[in-house]
Amino acid sequence: MLRKTKKEVLVQVGTKPLITVDPSLPSFEGHPFFEKKASAAKKLFARVGLPKGIGKKAR
């Protein structure tokens, strides 16, 4: 008889992976590092816009 490995008996339930929520993890909202990144990205999109058609597609 074939012996099943541990990997073989793992079963994925559903189609979407579960995400572990850590209530103690801060949101880092307003953190200067991410604010700087977001500001640069806003400037970029103000200059170049979105790819044609993507906005409609996304919504």
Partner: protein, 147 residues
């Protein structure tokens, strides 16, 4: 997602910030990834190393923890999870420098078949125009949306 090696990660209550720990020869390094809303359904994705003492986050430190593939697999999985929760999200990624942008591009190239199955990806070309991502082209920024 994508069947790649990845670190376990957790998210905050808003599903905007994600935390994981890189483990390698230089020890355990805390990583924070975050999506910032910058327009209608438009999010900027950034991530970096967290200094737990000062609270500073940096993406210019070269940690050299020999686990870049696992980190990239984790980042891909985080973006996939985020877009499961926010399926209309358009996620933009821009490297902090050319080397970092190149790293993102190499990883998109490497796993393109899997990525293209679930995401439409656009690259910002040298003319500052978005075009559907093509392997082998150089881009300065990326934008992805779920198919």
């Amino acid at each position: 997602m994508f069947g790649l090696d990845k670190y376990q990660y957790s998210t905050d209550k808003t599903f905007m910030a994600y935390h994981f720990i890189s483990n390698g020869p230089n020890g355990a390094i805390q990583k924070i990834a975050k999506f910032n809303l910058i327009g209608e359904d438009l999010y900027n994705f950034g991530f970096g190393d967290l200094d737990a003492i000062t609270g500073d986050i940096s993406d210019t430190v070269i940690s050299d923890n020999k686990d870049v593939d696992i980190i990239m697999g984790t980042v891909g999985s985080i973006i996939y999870d985020f877009t499961n929760i926010f399926p209309h999200a358009m996620v933009s990624i821009e490297g902090t420098n050319k080397a970092r942008t190149r790293l993102y591009q190499m990883n998109i190239n490497k796993h393109w078949d899997r990525i293209a199955y679930v995401f439409d990806v656009y690259g910002l070309n040298e003319n500052e125009s978005w075009e559907p991502f093509k392997r082998g082209r150089n881009y300065s920024a990326f934008l992805g949306v779920r198919k």
